[in-house]
Subunit: 246 residues, 2 copies
């Protein structure tokens, strides 16, 4: 992990860009320049837009988390931003656009080809990022995962024992295989669903929520479309992390 | 409205029992004995157990609300506690028990007979209670409705313009006619659903949530069975009222 830039957003948050091999990422740590006790960490799963486009939303979440005493970090997804495209996913995205334009249902084959290679490739990257982040003296204590592509968060919750709690955003296609994996998740979950999300299948989201094996799982459904998560829903997600990671 | 008893639970809450005609009720007001500024009001819809059996749960909600600066009040439902039974509902309850014991689905006819007379009779009673409560100098400002039988809360939200926001508990049978009425609800709603509630039809609850016409509506689904609403879900409902009634 190499830090490539560093600047203070204000007296409360330090932002550092880094690379992990070929993968760019950003780390935000709370605390003033003079004092920064080790902070628990929240991994911020980005949307598949690329970190540059998603930056305004990510930094808002990072500032909120820092105010609650959390460090946050994110890495570029495979195929996003300046990273090489994933050919299978690109093909699936073209098939998806064609199906949607023709008013056809989006078949399981398209969803699997779009999501599964992304999950397979990105989960080990998040685990490598976690190795590097947890070796920093300014990071300590339990780890949460928040947002991003819900299938990635689900797989991470299954395979990565260092993640203690997760806020998942039900806003992307979910392969049936991931719904099966969800039964093996046992950590506390807080799932956000935008009820009238035009680009999301509500029933699949409900099926996924139902499948999670966790004894504590909460679904928060709100109005406002895919990007319209209300402020109070963000606050409730932050309270979930404070309850579980502090 | 006649007060029949009065005692302080502690320095922060005054509990008074009252009767409104034949109907018993309880009013809790916040503030010390010496100071009690007019407080916004939350109507606590009771479960159909009778106020005496439901008292421990009601008083816990009243104390929580008082700490947030709210007065709360509840009245006995028609057919509950010491009030005369509703013959149609009693018959429907017997039919319901028979259907459940026989492993048969609970038909629309049973649900309608169980719930609709209760809604028709209790909603004007809540409105009369509201008239009386709002005439007290210690009650002022906006009114919320919380919990109880969700069909009663739904009808009240449609017909009673003095109710500004409602927390509804999706934990009882819902007639199809009420789902149609729900489309006319426009106030902010916070709906609680116990995901694995053994006595509740989850799909009907989701259909009802979908039907509400409100621009702001939130569904919080949690684990823990019918009576196992987690503490943090109660806290979130309290925050909803603070957002909307203060």
């Amino acid at each position: 992990m190499h830090f490539t830039s560093e600047h203070r957003l204000d007296d409360a948050v330090l932002e550092r860009e880094f690379t992990l091999g070929e993968i760019p990422g950003i780390l935000w740590t709370p605390g003033s320049a003079s004092s920064s006790a080790p902070a628990p960490l929240i991994l911020l799963g980005p949307p598949p837009l690329g970190l540059r486009k998603a930056y305004p939303r990510l930094v808002a979440r990072a500032r909120h988390a820092a105010a609650d005493g959390f460090a946050t970090a994110t890495i570029e997804l495979p195929g996003s931003g300046d990273r090489p495209r994933l050919p299978a996913a690109e093909q699936a995205r073209a098939d998806l656009r064609r199906a949607v334009a023709a008013g056809e249902p989006v078949g399981d084959g398209i969803v699997d080809a779009l999501i599964l290679p992304l999950v397979d490739k990105s989960v080990p990257e998040w685990q490598a990022a976690l190795d590097a982040l947890l070796s920093l003296p300014e990071i300590g204590g339990p780890v949460g995962y928040s947002g991003g592509v819900i299938s990635i968060g689900t797989r991470l919750a299954v395979v990565e024992p260092r993640i203690s709690a997760a806020v998942l955003f039900a806003g992307s296609f979910v392969p049936r295989a991931i719904i099966e994996e969800a039964r093996r998740v046992t950590i506390p979950l807080h799932v956000l669903l935008q009820w009238d999300d035009e680009g999301n299948d509500r029933q699949t989201a409900l099926d996924l929520f139902d499948a999670f094996g966790s004894k504590e799982k909460t679904l928060h459904a709100n109005m406002g479309g895919h990007t319209g998560v209300p402020q109070f829903a963000g606050d409730a997600a932050a309270q979930f992390f404070t309850r579980h990671l502090k």
